[in-house]
């Protein structure tokens, strides 16, 4: 067993797990943060995307031990008692998700984009979401929601023309 400790959504968390355990497994099964999804388990679908020191990572491809001492943000870390994150609110307002399975990963990828680029073009957004597969939506309303959230986070109103 390996002892791992990391910051998850602002809290210090530790677990004792077999060394081959992935970050995703620790998040879901030791820390009970089941928002990050186990989709393909080989890094193709992006449903497990989390932020590691601010960078979007497929948690199914990272060993828990590699996350030692790092700062992890999952979908559970976005909303607070004041309400949802602007991205979550925009996704809800525009019905950007359908079955929702890809949603936690998509929103985390979008959050990483907006932290780096507060005013992304449609092509920037397509590029940022390209590692997150969605079977339901055609991505159209997701892209619109990321644009809306970006405007809100820049202090503009959501419905201003891009």
């Amino acid at each position: 067993m390996t002892d791992v400790s990391m910051t998850v959504n602002g809290e210090e968390r530790t677990a004792s797990v077999p060394p081959e355990t992935t970050l995703l497994t620790v998040l879901r099964e030791n820390f009970f943060l089941t928002g990050s999804k186990l989709g393909c388990d080989v890094g193709d679908c992006g449903a497990c995307t989390v932020l590691v020191d601010g960078i979007p990572v497929n948690a199914c491809l990272m060993l828990a031990g590699q996350a030692e001492g790092r700062d992890i943000v999952t979908i559970e870390g976005l909303a607070n008692q004041d309400g949802m994150h602007p991205l979550q609110q925009a996704f809800e307002n525009l019905a950007s998700l359908q079955c929702g399975f890809c949603g936690p990963g998509v929103i985390i990828s979008a959050k990483a984009l907006l932290e780096e680029n507060p005013d992304p073009s449609v092509d920037d957004i397509r590029d940022a979401l390209s590692g997150n597969l969605c079977r339901c939506t055609g991505y159209t309303k997701m892209i619109e929601a990321v644009q809306d959230a970006a405007r809100i986070m820049r202090g503009e109103s959501a419905d201003e023309a891009a």
Partner: protein, 339 residues
Amino acid sequence: MKHRGKGIGCMWYPIGFTVAANPSAATVKVNEDGTATLLTGTVETGQGSLTVLGQIAAEELGISTEDVHVVSADTDATPMDTGAIASRTTYVTGNAIQLAAERAKNILFEVAAPMLGVRPDQLEARDRKIQVKGYPQSALPVGEVANHAQNGAGTPAIGSASYNPPTVAMDPETGQGKPFSTYVYATQIAEVEVDDETGEVQVIRIAAAHDCGTAINPMLVEGQVQGGISMGVGMALEEEMLFDDQGRQINPNLTNYIMPTSLDMPHIDVDIVENFDPTGPFGAKGVGEPTAVATSAAILNAVYDAVGVRVPNLPATSEKVLAAIKAKRNADPKRVSAS
């Protein structure tokens, strides 16, 4: 060199099959606080059907969608439903819900009529009230009427109903008949860019005009069309299950079974062609599966417009498109490619 082309695909699609029993059933209960509870057997898979079904109940009862509590897909508590299949939910389940809500509403009318000093047929349900048609100042809150129905008149405002698109036997000699209750129609136009050196097809834009009867929730209709187009793009250009000679799939994962990412999807313009179908709930038909039907035809016609080649079997992968372009060049060496 890259060539642009445009292509059109048109389709019709059947809604509400009638070749076999195809029932849905629903129960609608109006509560004493003016809300309603809807029991339906159908399953929400993200397409928004429970929102649309709640809207149908709310519209019939003159209350708000947020007043309707939808209980779905619990076999202990809800009626059986033929299924969230065949683009039938809004049409068949929606009809059952409208009928059930109408029965509950008629109880409210019977109870409210003597309270308002009119006949039941002079009443309507609007703005969370039961009111006299043409005299909205003469009205009672829905909750107050529901309370009186329960505790005064002794006739709780509950309606149950089923709907089955009338089953019609097919002629056993000819196979002819009326297999579906109604139909929807759509046209999609694709604009593509084809690289004649690699065979790669990039879909630039798709304009999609869809008839779904009354669009009860236009935002959800758009979502269905956009999602269907992504499936159509995959079908046209990328998605193919490959098997070895033992029947084992050789591409059983998303590394080599390729489906559209955000980078593969075109700009999409959705045009909802409103239309009233008298057999549907508030004129609605359906929209789910039809959205994916016209896309591949439009894309492949656009490829032909761009480089003058037909790829007769899907998906039109880069390899197939390039092979078709080379075959065309070899057959007509003076013509390098279409303009």
